[in-house]
Structure formats: structure tokens, C-alpha cells
Symmetry: D2
Subunit: 291 residues, 4 copies
């Protein structure tokens, strides 16, 4: 066990990750959640919400590139993009890399969090909040989905974990995906981060089933995020486009044409992610209850 300053993060219902801590930049409680911005010895600057690490300087590019680009590449010409959640602005940063995007709306419930991110997490948002194509709306994502009148080409669900804080739970429900369709056109693409199929198999299956009820094409993939202590699962869904039909060459060509540069994602990675089978832990099935 590490001695000294540490962060202890829940990985699953029966496992935790202990990481060495260098400094605490922010430790506060907003109206919605506990927000901590810290420096970790082996992961750099990190955002922690309700004890769950959301993003670290060392590996957030893996998470955000894997969340954003497969979905945006799947749509042939994404212009209007909605991000639900994503307070630190890194999803926005990746969306804005696509030259086709003319409007990127980010809806986050926690305005205090967004202000803290603007001030302390420049290494993550890299000025994306100031892009003229960006618009930030502080509002409950569910309410926005219900009340907005716009439609979007791509919707990114960059939410806190379904098994962690309660704040996001409604945003993984079957009702939510049905309502979400009002913000979509017949050829829109959505993507959601979905926690860990390995450690939360029942919760994950619940989400997959909810999405399958709402969309014709559903593709699952996952990527190891070191600071989460697990491989994060993602689901892309659409009524029209299928990410699994794109070749490495197609993807690389689209990235080039849209002017997208990345550190992790590429045509080869896209192909690989579509091929890896989702894994479940049978021992966790006895422990993971779906609420």
C-alpha cells in the first residue's frame, strides 16, 4: 500500500484503486456533487466527482478520443453535435476537431463544476469553451432533452457512471432513450459511455437492452482507462449508420479530410474496437444489482 497522500477510488463493488496524490487544487461541494481537482503523481491533474475519477491528464485523451471519434466518424457529415455532461470540456475539445461541426452544444447540470473546469482544467478543455461554435447550457440533461426543439446529428452522453452517483441514473433509462429520439433525425448517431461491463455486468446489460429497444443499429466497444481501474464500455447507436462497416482506410481518410489529429484513435483502432468482444465477470453478476 502506498504511504503518504493518496486518492482511493472505487473500481467495483469489491475493489478499489489507491493512487499517490501530490496536491489538492480544489475540494468543494457544489449543489450536485463533491468536486475535487487534484494532482496525482502518476496521472497529473485529475477531476474527481463523488470519489470517482472522471479525467486525468495522463489518460483522458484515451477516454475522450474513444468516446467522440467513433461516433462522429460514423456520421458522414456531423454538423450539429450535442454533448450531455462532459463538464471538463474535453469532449467538446474532441468534437470541435471535426471541421464539419458548425455547432457544439454542451448541456451540464452543474454550473459550478463548469466554472471550476474553465479555471483549473485548461490542460483538458484547451480553450474549447471559447470556440465560437461552442455553446454551454447549464441545465438538467433530461430536462433539456424534453424541452429543447433542436435536433442533432450526433449526441454524446458523457455522463458519470451509472453505478456511481445517483445524478446520472435517469439518463441510462429506457424512457430517456425514447425521449432522446425527439432530438434526433432519422440518420443521427448517439454514443454513451456505459461504465464497466466486467465489474457491473447486470447494470451494463440493462443499459444495452434499453438502447436496443430504441435503435436499429447498436455497437459495443471498450477501452482500458488506467485511472478508472477498468476498461470503459461505450455503446454507439443509430437507426441508419453502422460504425462496424467502416474500414481503417475509410476512417483515416475521413479524419484527414476533417482535419482531425489524435494521439490514440485512428483507423486501425476503430477497426480493433469493433472487433473485441465485450467481457463479463461472472463473480460480479452475483454482486451487481440494478436499481
Amino acid at each position: 500500500m502506498n504511504y503518504g497522500l493518496t486518492v482511493i477510488e472505487p473500481v467495483s463493488r469489491r475493489s478499489s484503486l489507491v493512487m499517490s496524490l501530490k496536491n489538492v487544487l480544489v475540494s468543494t461541494r457544489t449543489k450536485y456533487q463533491r468536486v475535487q481537482i487534484v494532482e496525482l503523481e502518476e496521472f497529473g491533474t485529475a477531476l474527481i466527482l463523488d470519489d470517482y475519477i472522471q479525467s486525468t491528464e495522463a489518460d483522458e485523451y484515451i477516454y475522450h478520443e474513444s468516446l467522440i471519434h467513433p461516433a462522429l466518424i460514423t456520421h458522414p457529415r456531423p454538423e450539429k453535435v450535442l454533448i450531455v455532461g462532459g463538464g471538463e470540456g474535453a469532449s467538446l475539445r474532441e468534437v470541435l476537431k471535426h471541421s464539419t461541426v458548425s455547432k457544439a452544444v454542451m448541456v451540464d447540470i452543474d454550473g459550478e463544476l463548469v466554472e471550476l473546469a474553465k479555471r483549473y482544467l485548461g490542460v483538458m478543455h484547451r480553450g474549447s469553451f471559447d470556440d465560437p461554435r461552442s455553446k454551454v447550457i447549464i441545465m438538467d440533461g433530461l430536462k433539456y432533452i424534453e424541452e429543447a426543439t433542436e435536433t442533432y446529428d450526433v449526441v454524446i452522453l458523457d455522463l458519470t457512471d451509472p453505478f456511481g452517483s445517483d445524478i446520472a441514473r435517469a439518463l441510462y433509462s429506457s424512457e430517456f432513450y425514447m425521449k432522446l429520439k425527439n432530438r434526433l433525425t432519422h440518420d443521427s448517431v448517439i454514443v454513451s459511455q456505459c461504465g464497466s461491463s466486467f465489474f457491473y455486468p447486470n447494470t451494463y446489460r440493462y443499459i444495452v437492452n434499453n438502447i436496443m429497444k430504441a435503435f436499429k443499429v447498436v455497437r459495443e466497444y471498450y477501452v482500458w482507462i488506467p485511472s478508472f481501474g477498468y476498461a470503459c464500455n461505450f455503446i454507439i447507436a443509430s437507426d441508419r449508420y453502422d460504425p462496424a462497416t467502416l474500414s481503417a482506410h475509410d476512417v483515416d481518410e475521413l479524419l484527414r479530410r476533417r482535419g482531425v489529429t489524435t494521439r490514440y484513435y485512428s483507423g486501425k483502432v476503430h477497426e480493433a474496437l469493433m472487433k473485441l468482444p465485450v467481457i463479463y465477470n461472472s463473480f460480479s453478476m452475483n454482486i451487481d444489482r440494478v436499481y
Copy 2:
């Protein structure tokens, strides 16, 4: 943090994984290392050597299938296979699945460990020690490589981590790979587990470089192993065959012909593993020293 009985495992030089423990079956010290066989709540039966988890019932199939099958599939007709390390017998189990294999020799330095595995880890070896094609030699792997006269089609280096106990360090050195060539023919294939490129980037690069000096074709891949707390890196090397040239269809056809059934590995997985880029943590580069 978990309360109650736990196992705390080093993940990197600055991170640890805490897992709930149900029971201790064996806790002893052999001539070479501390050996513990325990039951974990979320991973089942597990083998721990010098505080590092080697294999758990919940996820060892991911590790052992990823270690064994890409290398054996890369060789068109593997008959004689050498495993260095692999005390719990699960690598042996996977090797024996290939009907082409007529002789599988496992060389492990720790006879006490092998006896404990035979008795307590049936869920892992599944009787593979009793297969007439199996031969277990209790001997220092380096000494065996130096003194044996046999050659092998495939050599599996299933060693403890290069950054963990000292026991295996010599088996990742440049000298070792040169000596190893005496046990190979011109078309042999080798594979080694190589720890974590993300958390031990310098150690990993050191190993890659050592292997590159000795072999013409070198391919790197990695797979998330939940109970390790990281994605484990593997390297396949040969002077003749290249795993990256095999299509999913080729692999599936070979598996079918050799009668190999798996839970994780498949043609698609093979293709995916060859496409994912190795990842390094720049923060760990300042911490990871190579000895």
C-alpha cells in the same frame, strides 16, 4: 476503501489495487518466493506470488488465451512447445488444445509452487499436467535454455513481472534472448508477457529493444487483465512468421482445424490485438527505472 479481509496488490510504482478476500487456502514461502492461494470475492480462486496476482479464476482465461494462441496460430504447425514459467499449468492447458502439439515442456524453477498448483489450482490447470504430451522440468529457465539440446517450434515466456520479484529479471535480458535462439529453429515463434508498457514504460522499452536485437519480426499487443489492475503487454517474435499477416478468417480456420475452443480469443480478437497501438504513461517515465 473496502473494509474487512482484503488483498492489496501493487499495480505500478504509485498505485495499488485493493480486492475483497474471502479465504486463504495456502500461504507459504517456497525456496524462491512467497506463494499464496486465496479466494477473492470478485475473482474466485487466485494465485499470488510475492504480492503480485498471477492468475484468478475470473480472468485468467483472458490472460492465458492471449498469451498462448496468437503465438501458436502464427506458427503453421507447432509440434514441440516450451513454456518457461507458468507454474499454475494454465499455459500448458491452452498449449495442449492445439492438436498439432506432440510435446509440451514446462520448465519452472519452483517445484513447490508446481506441487501446490497441482493440488489447489485444478480450476486452472484442469488436468493438463497429466496429459501424456506434457513434461514438467523443475529447473531455472535460464539454465535450461543454456543446457538443453532440444529445439522448439514455439517458446512461451510466462514469467513473473520484470519489475516485480527479482526471480525473472535475467529472463528479459538481451543475453537471454540470444541464448534462447539455440533452442529455436529458423522458423520458430516466441512470445513473452512483458508487464505494463503504460506504468513501466522504460522497463517495457528495454524489453522490446532486447527482443528486437534478436529477431527479425516483432509484434506488440496488449490486453486488459482486470485483476492485474492494468492491460498486460505481450510481444511475439520470429525470424520468419508475422502474426499481423493473419486475417480473422485464417485464424478461425486454424483454430477449427486444430480443435481449439476458447472463451475470449478468436480471429476477430487476433486482428484487433494486432491493430491497437501500445500506450505509454509519460508521468510513469519519470518514476520507472530500469535495473
Copy 3:
């Protein structure tokens, strides 16, 4: 460093103690609580109930001598003694050391626990269950207090912590102490372990106040119990006798006459315990809620 097998114990609402574990002898759930009997590297055999260490081979003598002897010495001639709780039999062992005792009744709610203690915790009970003066009654302590007709010279409340499991909470209430008086005579003495005044100041004050409503003489003392991670508080109460009036010489003379031999307790210790002031942590006052 604490890698490997460990036990993690709650010390307070914001602190935990991590101890190296050697082996697990019992890990089960009775009708009332989780029971674990383990071997700790630095504390020997230990009994754990619902994640709280109750007794360890290394330091239970400090706890049990401090619980039993001040109360029994305060009574001039304790013949009938009641122990509520005390499943491992070590309180019984200390009570039976007093030659004046003709009857020692132990009432524990958890018969499975007592059976496990008999079998695995000989190092603690040391055969005291077989003493002809001993009688074990498996019954809810509160119910026994309400329904029994006997009276006792000394009553020992050797309960699980008031802030830990729910099982014992009723046995620290004002109502309980009033009912308890029906099992006492005008000169009986009682003693209760009371958790930690430092880490649970509000809970502790609640208990002291409850006892003060019921008894004329109330004395508080505390003793550091290493495996608890804190100094344990005790309260002696009586309507007649006051432990603070006994000199070291008086105590040593009584111990000698009653044939009591001890490892920790003595006349000097008795005097010291009566002199140390109870300590409270003002930071814990904001955290510790009384239910």
C-alpha cells in the same frame, strides 16, 4: 509496507486501520452478524464481527482485564456475576479468576458465535466455558434482563460497539439501564465498554448521560487497545461503591486474597485509570451523530 493479505478495520468515521493478515480460520455469517476468525501477523488469532476487531491474542488481555477487574474489585464480595455479550469467553475467564465468584452467567445472542469461539478461540476462553460455575444462555441480552428473576452482584456489559453494528444499540439506551436495575441489588456494580470518547464523543456522552440517570456513582476510564486503533472507554456505575476510593494497596490485597493473577491490571493500574481524564476530539464532534 502493507501489500498482500490484510484486514482493514474502521477506527472512526474517517479513519481505518490496515493490519497484515496471515490466515483465515473462519469466515461465515451467523443469523446475527458476520463472524471471522483470522490470524494476524502482528496480533495473532483474532475475532472480527462485522468488520470490527473484538479481540486479538496480542492485546485482548489488556481489554478484558481492564473491563472485568476494576468492577469486580469495587464490589467487596462478588458472588453472582452476569456477562452480557462476551462471546469469545475471555470476560468469563477473567471473572472466574475471582475466588469469591460462585456463579458466572454469560448471555450472548449469537449461539453460532459461541460455538465457533469454543472451537477456535481456546487461546482466549482457556476452558472457562467448562468451569462448573459457568452458565451460558443464548438469548437476546435485553430480553434476558427483562425476563430473568435473578439478581447479580456485578453485571458486565461486554457489547459490540455502540457505533458499529446495530445489534447492541438498544443495550446502551436509558431504558436499558433502568430495566437493568431489576437485575441488581442496592449494592451491585456494573461496567460497560463504551467505544471511543475521542472518535465518537457524542455517542459516548449519550451513554454517560444515560448511565448517570440510573446510578449514583459513575466513574469513567479508558485504556489503549492497539488492535482497535483507539483507547477504549469504560464506565463503572453503582449506587453504593466507588472504585476511585480504592488505593493501589487495597486493590493488590484484594487480588491476592481472591487468587487473581493478571498480566496488565494491578493496584497501580487501578489508581492510574481512575486519574486519567476522558479525552474528546472536537473535530469528531461534527461528524459523530447519535442515532
Copy 4:
């Protein structure tokens, strides 16, 4: 549960204490040691040197009053007092409470630490560095003892633990105590904190024996310090005065005459501390090596 920000402190060779952390004020490495000044949820502001908690706002008064007053009270008229170590200035604070003291010299090896303490630990030193009777000398304590020409009525050895960092080890050796006598008169009194007799029995016995070789009167006592995870041992030594001969009344009278007000220490506490027997953990005896 201890998720989130924490400090993990070694308690013994096989135990650790995990405490919730609120904020990091300072985290640096001086020429001599790692210095961290943090805010703990349940202990307030805390000074940590090389992972060992030295002082916390919640309980440093217990430690510093127990270290300083028994020794100063044992001397009938302490005028010149030397403190070796004690960087945070709290020992100085307690020494200066005695109106008899005309000169209090504090020798600490780490000038950077003292400057950090002056700035961040006002809650501990409470301005004692500014008292005209105070003098701070930045120097190796051993060197000061060897080279100074002054003698002192009382010497306080407020050092880091003998088993922790190497920095203080020489200051517990037999040679050191012999040299120390050159800074003493025939009736001087010294006191040293000595770590934990329970968890480091061999180290503690080594220190006691070293002190016994040098002084005619040696008295041992200990006090539970919650944030250390153990009861801290102290040894008072003198060739002339014996703290065990002072009654509670004597002590209270001296405190009153010298104008000393305290939160924990008193005549009764003095008597109690002199009566409690030192405790040793037999399990730790196999683990604790003396270097």
C-alpha cells in the same frame, strides 16, 4: 468508508492508519526530509515528515504536554531548557509556559522545516518563536551537543521516530547520551519521546538500556496519541530527581506557581502516567529489528 483523499501512515511494521484528507497546504522535500502540511478531516492541520504524522491540531496538545511538563515539573527550578528537534514549535510553546524558564534553545537540523512551521503552523507554535526567551539554532542536534559549551537544566529530545526516518537514529544511541551529559549539570533532567514500546519492543528496549547506562534515575511512561495510531512512550532520566516521587498535589502546586495552564496534563495525570506499566507486543518482537 475511506474513499477519496486520504493520508496513509505507517503505524508499525505491519499496520497502517488511513485518515481522510481535506487539503494539502505544503508538499515539499527539504534537504533532510519530505515535509507535508495538510488538513485532515478528523484531526485538523497536521505536519507529516517522511510519511509519519508528527503533530495534528486535534491531539498535539496531548503529545506536547506529556513530553514537556513531567520533565519540567521534575526539576525544581528549570531556567535553561534545550529542545532538540521540535520543528513545529509546540514543544517550545509548552516550555515557555513555565515562568521559571529564562532561556529556551531549540536546535533543529532542518531550517526549511522551521520556516514552513512559522508560516503554516501558527495553530501549533502560537508565536513561541517570537518570545524573547526563545532561540532557534539550525544545526545537527548531535553536532550541537558535541560543540556547545552551555549546560541546561532540562533537555527535551523531541525527535522523529527511531524506527522511521534515519535522520534521528544517532540521537538514540548510547554514545549520544554520554555526550549529552556534557550539556547537563549534576541535577539536570532529560526526557525523550521513544516511539512505541508495543509495536517496536526491541527498538524501545535498546533505547531504555542506552539511557539506563547514562543516568541513575530512569522513569518510563506512555500516552495514547490518536493520530499516531499508537500510545507514544516517553523516558525521563536524571542523576538526581525522580518524577515518581511527586504527588498530584505537588504537581498542581508547581503548575500554579509557575503559571502553567494545560488542557490534558495535571497532577492527577502525572501520578497516573508514573503508575501505568509499559506494554510490549510479543508478536512484534519477531518483526522489530534494531539497527
